[in-house]
Symmetry: C2
Subunit: 222 residues, 2 copies
DNA sequence: CAAGTTATCAAGGGATCTATTGAATAACAA
DNA sequence: TTGTTATTCAATAGATCCCTTGATAACTTG
């Protein structure tokens, strides 16, 4: 007990999970799974990987305990293994933004010009007052897998043809997968171009969902 | 904007930090730095690595933005780069405990039999009532670098000879580096063997410190 | 049962990572 | 200056990781 060998074994066991974060492909798969469970094929297509490669990386994530796997007839559906994993991924993203300038630079390149954002707290009070319309611009399946209460689904590809559904006299808030997802940025630009007021929610569905759970827990404790 | 190349660049930038978690040696170095800043030589000795190897890993951590480096005369002192990094490390440890059975098994092997633990909330109320004595059993330098308010320092190596300093009529709570540190476990066993009541604090100094900061922030916001 | 999907397996070349060794450098003290 | 200590650099061999390719397995549907 307390020997070097046993201490090393401990850190090696943790590094097994750490290794899972060492590949950009796996990170992208995790990011997709943070929205909704998906099959290998869907994940491979969304991340521009060959099926075999996506499958291999998913197996690595599975071995690291980060995703669960469920057979569904002819296909296999992978999902994040739990909230610990989600918050770990969000913590990595957060820390990398804070510490690596390249991440912010890469994000700017990918997202284009910054658009006005609104924070969680402000959105909650505005929603309570009823003077904003909240729009989920992710694909319909992701909305179906979970969304912010009170949001309506208008996938980004349908937005242009459904602009008329949005009120002209209220501000519109759009949200999507998270701070690195281009959908909400695009949506805000489109909505603003139509003469309406619009902002994007600072975070996306995964962050919102985690925040909900932790405030609920804190309230229960108090 | 929004192209595959730019999206890949984004995930590659994040993976730069993710790669830092892929090696057990680097994790151990991080764990040591979570207690207090240290020089290369100290880190190498504490982690049973050659100086050159420790230096190389520290440089990798530095490139990943996870540690800062400061020259101090003839030596170089490394420190965690910020709270985001600390909470990221704690999140990894937490998720690995939750998801990888091997981690818990390895921890049990390293720590020996479980001893009674006390949580943060209970400790706070007991401290307020003044009916427990809180002991920091880490090395004196780590106590000096930061400790729980109201704790007294009795490094584990000195504990046996200083048992008399502990009151027999109050419960003693010992804490150390964290849930994977053997010091508090050992301390509780020693104190109990001397006929006193003792428990270990569930978490260690790093967790406590982060929790302090986040409750303070929440209170400021409210 | 045959054909078609979907996912995994197996093997290999190329890239990357790791620890070791020994030399080089920087700061300081005598 | 010369020696001492603390750290980094450079080179290297061995291990591991990554993606591709082609075959295989599991299951569904016609």
């Amino acid at each position: 007990m307390g020997s070097r060998a046993e201490k090393s074994a401990l850190f090696e066991a943790i590094a097994l999970m750490g290794k899972a974060f060492a590949s950009p492909v796996r990170l992208e798969l995790l990011d997709l799974l943070a929205q909704a469970p998906r099959t290998v094929d869907e994940l491979a297509r969304s991340s521009d990987q060959s099926t075999a490669n996506a499958s291999q990386h998913l197996q690595a994530l599975h071995a690291a305990g980060m995703v669960t796997r469920a057979r569904e007839g002819t296909s296999t559906r992978y999902a994040l293994a739990g909230d610990e994993v989600l918050s770990l991924w969000l913590a990595l993203r957060h820390a990398s933004i804070a510490r690596l300038g390249d991440v912010e630079r890469a994000a700017r390149d990918y997202l284009g010009d910054e658009v006005d954002a609104i924070g969680r707290d402000e959105l909650i009070t505005r929603l309570r007052k009823g003077d904003v319309v909240l729009v989920d611009v992710r694909p319909a399946e992701e909305y179906a897998a979970g969304h912010i209460e009170g949001a309506r689904s208008i996938p980004i590809e349908e937005l242009e043809s459904r602009l008329a559904e949005l009120p002209a006299d209220h501000e519109v808030v759009a949200y999507c997968r998270g701070p690195f997802c281009a959908y909400a940025h695009d949506a805000v630009r489109q909505i603003q171009a139509s003469g309406r007021q619009a902002r994007r929610l600072q975070d996306g569905w995964p962050e919102w969902q985690l925040a909900e759970k932790s405030t609920r827990k804190r309230r229960r404790a108090a």
